[in-house]
Symmetry: C2
Subunit: 452 residues, 2 copies
């Protein structure tokens, strides 16, 4: 032990400064609200060690005030009126954990107008109404923090805005909907149909009773909207995200992807191009040996390509009460540190200074160029090689692979992997192939990304 | 386009504030220094969009001033005297990119004493002399930022101190030496010997001419020292990290690991236990289907287990000039935002407020409990089952697997996977087995971690 260095600091420890605690008003005591309360309490000392300030939930708004009071304990003022909590003079920061885009919007705006910072994990609210929310925050000189809105346990907003902030982000691609990823993993590893995999996800609590929002890609589109804004310093362009879900995928598609050396993932992709940005959510074949392909089950994973950093990959839980609380508390810690700091000391909400937002256009899907995988159902695929190749050739498409669909897929037909081609050429080829004699059903067309 | 929301901000854009630029003095113009200069220049506009301030390298210190002046251009003052740059009145922040622990220490201390913040990626300096450096920074009210010191392209210091700051970190495990990982990947995928894999790494620039520091685990131990400090709020305990390297591994070990469903990785492990912290660097068998096992080649990857977040995985390049610059520029951006902010607005250098550092003891290796893989060389392994099992039993070890070494390993013998056991029991068993008649060489013993 003789070489053990003196602890840092070696001088007698300073005492903790006598700062006022950060007073938190919590709207909603569902999974996320209760998780936030639990983490703030359990880790109270650990959090104060880091920030030098205590954090106290002073007010809670909940519909069932009796149940909420029992959960929150006697020291907390529980009100049924969320607006009253959002604007209460004894609250410094409001945590919005009610969800939805209507009442939540009113309460967030009321909190900002009352001079409070807001923390929220509400991706729908921010993706759809963020232009209102962030404008109000800026007008009132307050911060809206939203680390929990994307890939909850992964500090990806902080990574994009700060940790990778010295980079020009070239593209990012993320598995940002855990429900869809669970379903796709179950289809691949257990050979389940989409419906069977969805049922399993529902039974295990990974999918909601009405799964539409997850399986049709809307949730991923919300998150991609936020990621693209902070990555590129562009406005929220939710309505322009090209969005496809996974509901039409079959076990046969999964088998075909594997036969070609790929796995199917529902990706959110944002790519900076000279004329603007591609923003798209769709099922995508990615190389089976890519790290992102190994992100299975309900996990989330995001690859970020920076011009200096090269690719970084960030993985973790995409949902859950305490997992979301991890992000919400991190946001609260940033706000506790900011104190009465200036606007320039706060990291800009959407990544760049408001005056530096670039009104980048979202590029039309017709301009997107990538490889495609086509599965062409046919009773006797052998007879289709020549006419299919003719259709591909007529559309100007080169092929990397053409082969019978593997027997394991139990869906006879032809499998084609094209070279990179424009959307319009692929559509032309798919239409022509679909009209061929001997093609026994709709041609399945999936995009392929190498993520390099 | 009619539903396109108004860009944020919708009000006429504010003009950029007229802040003085952050003036940077750069010590050293090698790979990291030149990379930093290149990234600051190429991304000058993008960085200013984020921070609202310009960053300018005003001074460079380099031994070969003529070459440096040619690289830096006419607007930069190039001096051969690093001390003069470190203390120059026209410099706000000093970037130390010279390496080493002697002259670099002097210059860093001189910069702090002159009232400058310091950014460095020098893990050796901070792990070995950090108690001096951070104490000086605290005394002078300045910040020493070191994101680039660990897993350069991955913002892992920021993730631990901020993004996951609401968690109590339970453990972390990292592939934090790219050279070793490249060698282990080459041994596994190409069946190379250690020497052949090292030679390949050297030929490709992934290993230095003298690779000792990387292959014996010292570099990983430096990084683990820093990670543990910021994860647990404990002092730098470099001298107490249990450190083993990879130089004694053989292709046979790699084959055996795969046969059991594992891959060998050089891990840095830090684990919070009731009585203190485990700090250890050693080759480790981890499950082949764990995300960390897929981190191959020269990449780095770190798993962090937080009590609220659950596991998160962070991967990216572990070396390179621009990759390191990505981290250094992120640190500069934090400092540009801090401006004249208070100590409480700065994230504490070692993760917790100085008064909250916990003098956690490093637990002795004798207390570490984990599973082990034993490879027992023997000409006729069949005869050894009974005596080996007797030795294991005598040491109180239960076995999960006992089998002949796979033929592909070309190293006849027995392969044993034990259940979790204390170090002392394993040592006792290894000594007893090594003394058995018929054992044809040293028993290879590797630790096994499930990382769950």
């Amino acid at each position: 032990m003789s070489h053990r260095p003196a602890p840092y600091p070696s001088a007698p420890a300073e005492q903790p400064p006598d700062l006022s605690p950060l007073r938190i008003g919590l709207l909603g005591l569902g999974t996320v609200g209760a998780g936030t309360l639990a983490v703030l309490r359990r880790n109270h000392h650990a959090i104060a060690r880091r920030t030098g300030r205590h954090m106290v939930v002073t007010h809670v708004a909940a519909r069932n005030a009796v149940r909420a009071q029992a959960l929150a304990g006697p020291g907390v003022q529980v009100l049924a009126d969320a607006h009253a909590v959002a604007t209460h003079p004894d609250v410094d920061v409001v945590v919005e954990a009610v969800g939805g885009t209507c009442a939540a919007l009113d309460w967030v705006l009321a909190a900002l107008a009352s001079g409070k910072h807001v923390v929220t994990a509400n991706k729908a609210l921010l993706a759809e109404k963020g232009h209102i929310v962030f404008e109000a925050a800026q007008r009132h000189g307050r911060v809206v923090a939203f680390e929990g809105a994307v890939a909850v346990s992964i500090p990806i907003i902080k990574a994009l805005r700060e940790g990778l902030g010295g980079n020009q982000i070239e593209w990012l691609a993320g598995i940002i909907n855990g429900t869809s990823n669970f379903i796709l993993s179950a289809m691949r590893t257990q050979g389940l149909s989409f419906d069977a995999a969805l049922a399993r996800a529902q039974a295990l609590g990974y999918a909601e009773a009405d799964p539409a929002f997850d399986i049709h890609g809307n949730d991923a589109a919300h998150k991609l909207t936020l990621l693209a804004a902070v990555a590129f310093g562009m406005p929220l362009r939710h309505a322009q995200v090209h969005t496809e879900g996974i509901a039409s995928l079959t076990a046969a598609d999964s088998v075909c992807a594997q036969a070609l050396g790929y796995r199917i993932k529902l990706l959110g992709l944002a790519r900076r191009k000279p004329g603007g940005v591609e923003l798209r959510v769709h099922p995508t074949l990615i190389p089976a040996d890519h790290l992102l392909a190994q992100v299975e089950g309900s996990l989330n994973g995001i690859v970020v390509q920076g011009d200096a950093s090269g690719p970084t990959v960030h993985c973790g839980a995409g949902a859950g009460g305490e997992q979301t609380a991890s992000a919400i508390v991190a946001d609260l810690m940033d706000l506790a540190r900011l104190g009465g700091g200036t606007a320039l000391q706060a990291v800009p909400m959407l990544g760049v200074q408001p005056w530096a937002t670039e009104d980048l256009p979202v590029l039309p899907m017709a301009d997107v160029v990538c490889r495609h995988c086509l599965r062409i159902p046919a009773a006797t695929p052998g007879n289709l090689w020549a006419p299919v190749l003719a259709c591909l050739h007529a559309a100007g498409l080169d092929t990397e692979v053409i082969s019978p669909v593997p027997e394991a897929a139990q869906a006879p037909g032809l499998l084609v992997l094209t070279r990179a081609a424009a959307e319009s050429a692929v559509q032309q080829a798919v239409a022509a192939i679909g009209a061929l004699d001997g093609v026994g059903g709709p041609v399945v067309r999936l995009r392929v990304e190498s993520l390099t």
